[in-house]
Symmetry: C2
Subunit: 215 residues, 2 copies
């Protein structure tokens, strides 16, 4: 199953557990984690099978990123950081410690909003050098820009590609999968629905239909 | 006074209050805020006069950044975000809402670790375009690289420059001030000292001596 649910608001673990019946993983971000606290952020991954990702969009020097993720080490499989910050003194240090933990590093390679074209995408040859040097388990690339997903797929065949931007930001379920992504990340279109469980089931069905048509 | 204390570990408000007698502001980051929670992060700025900065190194799309900072709107004067995420759909949206709140936006323009040279600094002409477009109150630039501080000072005379990297990362107190920074941010050299209050007093003295020698 290619669907990862982004828990972008303070759902309770029971709700997440029911949504996760139709997903292959869960991603927890800062907006609900900061006010609800570490205990809440640790309770969510327990409610889901599959891939458990902490998405704090880490973008700091190595020691600071490590002290941010350390409290979550036994609760998550993967941690998202920005490739833009570079390897030396930052991502290399993070990667080494995550490797020791048996955890996965996932690097943002490009973003889903228009502003990603202003710096991130213009500097992407430098970003790709960082990705080659750090060799993360996965990459985040926007479903809203299938050309970028396809470029990453060709250039980094060893990496899993995770694509946000489905629903509220304009991409349709399956768009990124058909461009080479391994997972699509869906937040508001599920968590903001009056019936999140139905929304997850429906979106997952749409992803599978789209993928069977394009493959 | 040019000294901002980075509360990079879970000090109690009483300790912060005593350190702040020798500082002109306080900056609170993610490492202590996530495990201690929002209540703790709201208690710290009350313990300090001067500039109160929430440093979550925001680097996401606009709506996500806004939902991260909203719980802190009445507690902090300024919020730090990364310039590399671009303006459209990200920093412009954040700036508009912070303006409505009467809060300050502070953008990271370059970082203090070696990896900052790999992408951030190479893409800095694009980063500077974002800074011009967004027109933040302040910029973060590393005390460890005085050339970058001086370049920002010349290019953005209207911006306050805040420089981390003093102490543990190698810059001396006053280095950045002498290159054009308005504030120096000190964390570990104060908070990791056996006597943080004495360390703050001593470092502030060193800053003032250095500044009087170079000006």
């Amino acid at each position: 199953m290619p669907l990862i649910v982004a828990v972008d608001r303070p759902l309770d673990p029971g709700q997440v557990s029911r949504i996760c019946e139709y997903a292959d993983g869960v991603k927890v971000g800062l907006p609900p984690a900061v006010p609800r606290g570490a205990e809440w952020a640790r309770s969510i991954p327990r409610s889901c099978n599959g891939l458990r990702i902490l998405d704090f969009k880490l973008a700091d020097i190595g020691p600071v990123m490590l002290s941010i993720v350390e409290p979550f080490k036994d609760y998550y499989d993967g941690f998202i950081a920005h490739s833009f910050i570079g390897s030396n003194g930052a991502l290399i240090e993070l990667k080494e410690v995550l490797d020791e933990w048996g955890a996965k590093l996932i690097l943002v390679a490009s973003m889903s909003h228009e502003g990603s074209r202003e710096v991130y995408d213009r500097a992407r040859m430098h970003v790709y050098e960082v990705i080659e040097r750090v060799h993360p388990w996965g990459l985040v690339a926007p479903a809203t820009r299938p050309g970028i997903v396809a470029e990453l797929r060709a250039r980094f065949p060893w990496a899993r590609i995770l694509s946000p931007g489905i629903g509220a930001q304009g991409a349709r379920p399956g768009d990124a999968l058909c461009s080479g992504a391994d997972y699509e990340i869906v937040g508001r279109a599920i968590t903001g629905s009056p019936n999140p469980v139905d929304a997850a089931r429906r979106i997952r069905g749409e992803m599978e239909n789209a993928r069977s048509e394009c493959s």
